[in-house]
């Protein structure tokens, strides 16, 4: 029957079975490919992954000038860029989205333009960013920032319009609140869970832009490493990197869900 509940234990068992099935399919594929060609590194087995882990955890640089292992420098590079970009994009979109939702004249001025620009895929804009912003850190941050800005500004703007009821604003005015007080005390509190949800939804697209850019410029980062290692067919490293991206994505997702539930329990699921 549709939507019929199942025991929690069965749910857990089935989830684990799904993961086990995925792993065993992969193991079978790897064993089959290795049987055909013992030297293959395309679908590595356990030994291949062991070597992959050794490689990514091996300290970089030289004995006299030690550097962190590649995985740490790549993670640091990518997530710092992501953080910078999101920080810019999110703060800008909050300011713009809230003002668009609050004041009709700002809405009229910006809304058509932002709607249009949000329809251009940021990855297609990459050549423009390279020419206008250069090819270093500023480019990554701008690209991620603007990449999420247009979509987020729109969502926040529509959240201000739809989630904040007129009577709440009217009541605040009646009690003598100023515009700024209404924005901070009424509007911001109402839309905060939406903002957190939007950040959660934008991490995925932001990573797409970031990795695409890292694959063509840059000396470090997850995208850089995936391109370099797949170019020399070190797929063991590539799969580990993909798994790390998946896990960190999951972590970010749950961390933001938890934050939202914590800050705005009234919002529900």
């Amino acid at each position: 029957m549709i939507r019929k509940r199942i025991p929690a234990l069965l749910f857990l068992a089935l989830s684990l079975a799904g993961i086990a099935a995925l792993i065993s399919c992969y193991a079978a594929l790897s064993a089959r490919t290795t049987a055909k060609n013992a030297q293959q590194t395309v679908v590595p087995g356990i030994d291949g992954f062991k070597k992959g882990f050794e490689k990514i955890l091996k300290p970089g640089g030289m004995a006299s000038n030690p550097k962190p292992a590649m995985i740490w420098s790549d993670l640091a590079a990518t997530y710092w860029r992501l953080f910078l970009g999101l920080a810019i994009g999110v703060s800008l979109s909050i300011v713009v989205g809230v003002s668009m939702g609050a004041y009709r004249w700002i809405e009229a001025l910006l809304s058509p333009m932002i709607t249009f620009l949000s329809k251009i895929p940021p990855t297609a804009m990459m050549p423009i960013y390279f020419v206008l912003v250069g090819t270093d850190q500023a480019m990554f941050a701008t690209m991620v920032g603007l990449g999420v800005f247009f979509t987020m500004a729109q969502s926040i703007y529509s959240a201000v319009q739809k989630d904040v009821r007129d009577d709440a604003i009217d009541k605040a005015y009646t009690l003598g609140a100023s515009d700024m007080e209404i924005i901070v005390e009424v509007i911001w509190r109402q839309i905060l869970p939406r903002v957190i949800d939007n950040i959660r939804l934008q991490i995925g697209p932001a990573m797409v832009f970031l990795l695409a850019a890292e694959m063509i410029v840059g000396n470090a980062g997850m995208g850089y490493r995936i391109r370099m290692e797949s170019r020399i067919l070190n797929m063991n490293v590539v799969y580990i990197y993909l798994a790390i991206l998946g896990l960190s994505g999951l972590f970010a997702e749950y961390a933001l869900l938890w934050t939202r539930r914590r800050i705005s329990p009234w919002f529900g699921e």
Partner: protein, 369 residues
């Protein structure tokens, strides 16, 4: 909420697109099997490069037909069905390495890695870089002041090889210089748009020519003409494919295609037409620009030229060991401890065999015909 129906339609569209070649492929296969014996299917993956775009030109000229189930002139002659797969250079290496093509257009440096896991045979060299890879600098930088600036180019590629080898040859130490990773197209674009942080790039053609044309203050600091016949472009096939029925015919058909198009480039009657066609397959350059490109990428125009390279002592004893050493040092190759690069000349037991056997076989067979 709105995303779930969108995802379904997107998925459906992808499925439809993916199934198109299947639908299109089915009838055409059955119609061409009317010949005496059905030609065996072999595939070659190639990327845009003067001596490799030749295969794209051959498709345009009707010498080959890139589609499966369709035959060009040369394919009919050797009774072999060659499928051409065009992709970016990096992707070609992956396609070949993962077993999705029987042969690949690749350099003598980049084949070392894939051949470790896929026993390969070098069928014939197509060209050598004689100025097609270059270090271009602005602001009057020279070899001394270049130390203060990073040079941008694709890491672990022939660009980095050219950069370090030429410095070495000039008695300089490559570790005094910084080579920084950037896609060559982007590096060239950055230099051309006067990006303040990018003063020196190491790129290959067409980016070399493009950059020199669009920035008059850009100068070539050095190029691959300083290391002749060290960067060699080749056609390499897997040994497994060569052992299949029709493997030799596949090799001979590729050779005939390459030498026929090379002949047309040299023949005054067909030179312009062929160069224009080649230019279209190579970043839309015109015939005049293509002439420069073709001199900077020196073709091995005949089987004899090709055999001469493969039998040349310096190529066997100096160039390839140097290239292999570079690859190990830069972790392009990861060898088991105590193991050496398994490459040899006319040594069929090696993982990578630079073989003149097929070239000689081709000469003999064509002499008879």
């Amino acid at each position: 909420m709105a995303s779930s129906p969108r995802r379904i339609t997107f998925g459906t569209i992808t499925c439809l697109i993916a199934s198109l070649p299947l639908l299109a492929g089915c009838p055409s296969k059955s119609t061409t099997s009317s010949g005496a014996s059905k030609p065996e299917v072999f595939s070659l993956t190639w990327s845009e490069y003067p001596s490799w775009s030749v295969f794209g030109v051959a498709h345009e000229a009707g010498l080959l037909d890139q589609a499966e189930g369709k035959l060009g002139e040369i394919e009919r002659k050797w009774n072999v069905d060659i499928v051409l797969k065009q992709a970016d250079y990096d992707k070609c290496i992956e396609i070949y390495g993962t077993g999705n093509a029987d042969a690949v257009c690749i350099t003598n440096m980049d084949i070392l890695g894939p051949s470790l896991q896929k026993a390969s045979v070098v069928l014939f060299p197509t060209s050598t870089s004689d100025g097609a890879d270059a270090c271009i600098a602005v602001d009057g930088l020279d070899l001394e002041s270049l130390k203060t600036q990073a040079s941008f180019g694709l890491e672990r590629s022939v660009s980095q090889y050219c950069f370090e080898r030429v410095l070495e040859k000039n008695g300089l130490n490559p570790s005094d210089y910084t080579f920084s990773n950037m896609d060559p197209a982007i590096a060239a674009q950055a230099l051309q748009s006067n990006d303040e942080k990018i003063k020196s790039i190491v790129v290959w053609n067409p980016f070399v020519m493009q950059t020199l044309e669009s920035r008059s203050d850009a100068k070539v600091l050095f190029d691959s003409s300083a290391i002749p016949e060290e960067i060699v472009d080749m056609v390499v096939a897997s040994k497994q494919a060569m052992q299949r029925k029709g493997g030799k015919d596949f090799a001979y058909a590729l050779m005939e295609t390459f030498y026929e198009v090379s002949r047309r480039i040299d023949d005054p009657k067909s030179a312009d037409e062929t160069l224009v066609a080649l230019g279209e397959k190579f970043s839309n350059l015109d015939a005049k620009a293509m002439k420069t490109v073709v001199t900077q990428t020196k073709f091995y125009k005949s089987p004899k030229d090709a055999i001469a390279l493969l039998e040349k002592k310096s190529f066997r004893d100096e160039t390839m060991p140097t290239v292999a050493k570079f690859c190990v040092e830069h972790e392009i190759l990861t060898l088991e401890p105590g193991k050496d690069v398994s490459l040899g000349f006319d040594a069929s037991d090696k993982q990578l065999n630079f073989s003149s056997e097929y070239l000689k076989g081709y000469l003999e067979t064509t002499a008879k015909k």
